[in-house]
Symmetry: C2
Subunit: 294 residues, 2 copies
Amino acid sequence: MIWASGWRLASAVSNKGGLGIIGAGSMYPEILREHIQKCKKATDKPFAVNVPMLYPDIDKIIEIIIEEGVRIVFTSAGNPKTWTKHLQSNGITVVHVVSSVKFALKSQEAGVDAIVAEGFEAGGHNGRDETTTFTLIPMVKEQLEIPLIAAGGIATGRGMLAAMVLGADAVQIGSRFVASNEASSHPNFKNKVVEAKEGDTQLTLKELAPVRMMKNKFFTEIQDLYKTAPTKEELISLLGRARAKKGMFEGDLDDGELEIGQISGLIHEIKPAAEIIQEIVTEFELAKQQVANF
Amino acid sequence: MIWASGWRLASAVSNKGGLGIIGAGSMYPEILREHIQKCKKATDKPFAVNVPMLYPDIDKIIEIIIEEGVRIVFTSAGNPKTWTKHLQSNGITVVHVVSSVKFALKSQEAGVDAIVAEGFEAGGHNGRDETTTFTLIPMVKEQLEIPLIAAGGIATGRGMLAAMVLGADAVQIGSRFVASNEASSHPNFKNKVVEAKEGDTQLTLKELAPVRMMKNKFFTEIQDLYKTAPTKEELISLLGRARAKKGMFEGDLDDGELEIGQISGLIHEIKPAAEIIQEIVTEFELAKQQVANF
């Protein structure tokens, strides 16, 4: 949700009863502080911050989160042992994002309060084992004792109910909110998301950090490079800098990296976040009733 | 389900109230006839035959199916236009297996009676779009008018219920029945399946026909070859002949191809097929009751 989930989206989600998450991955520390402060003004409900732990200014980010009184942090892309205790000793609930059973259990051992288990269908950065939501959730559930939040492929009330049937206690929804009025994503990208069809995304760049993106011109260039058995350096060189920003924030649909999940094929309209949440809840309740007749 | 689903497994499933399927993919025509005849003796319930349409003796296979009075055929790996009308004009219900929305709709247009939509997590041969069960089912459901059977990642009653919540009318279960007493798979392979953990399978050989298999010695050899940017011919040469038979039927766990789904990580015991079905149904009913409290 980098370049998508700033204070506007996070506060809109929290105000409607979800847990809004500010994605710190695309923010310099002082920009994050600004988003947290604006979010606090825009909602009196709890919200969270997602922190990729590979972030160069991670110390500063953590300091700001504590200073600003954020109550819930989602950590990802790193070792949960590094920051969990420090955050918790400052009264913060820590949720760690994983994509395998092994790392779910390691996160539990590191003392996190809950985990997000994210399937292969999720947009953006993704696990190496390619385990899908449908199989990952029950396999994690079988061994995990702490709360389990499912992610990857969930955009609707039916998706939420299915994930809970598979063993999730809650769900994390990304792609659906990229196509919201409040997302800070470029309108070109939002439009591309609602036009997406099944099969329009693919996981690639597995040698660097696996990432699911739309099959645009940039994606095709990556695939062409793969035909030459490239070195890691050649892949890094093609990737260059700020590709994600170029695509998702600046709206360059050809040369930018457009990170989105497979479920984009089921997303057809850009709407206010509150309407999206209302639709999900209404469909969830309806689906619950239908289950009784199965 | 090649090298796994002969008359013993198919009749056991049908006798317990499922629809048993004989997998013709690993059978010469006269072997298939024998399996059909034995299946008819072993059950008076309906059963089906799965026919990969790329099969060299496809004309002969279809002739035998009609002669032997099989009532339901699952076709895969080919154009559903080729055989659907002929089979239907002989009173046979035709179900076609696809892995994308596009081919689901093409199959409907070709007049098939139902489709199986199979996700990326499924074992064995698989689609190019890598769409997962969790996202494929609702996207197909949104556009399809004929009955929809979900496949890929389903091994339990919870999985069955989740697939139905996502829009499936029924489910097709493969991997779970490889670890059944009645499967004709080699005991070494069955044991390997119940020992499998999350992350132990991967989709590979995408340039030939994408196939999900266990990460054994043969799989590692494929990955090593990929590092050299191999030609298709080099991949075909490494694959050689009868790799699947060697692994799944002859029990060579190192040099054989071991086709199984991601959900193998959730399968822990070899059991009679009837017990597996009973467990699935019991868990399905229990999960239905639990949904009311979500």
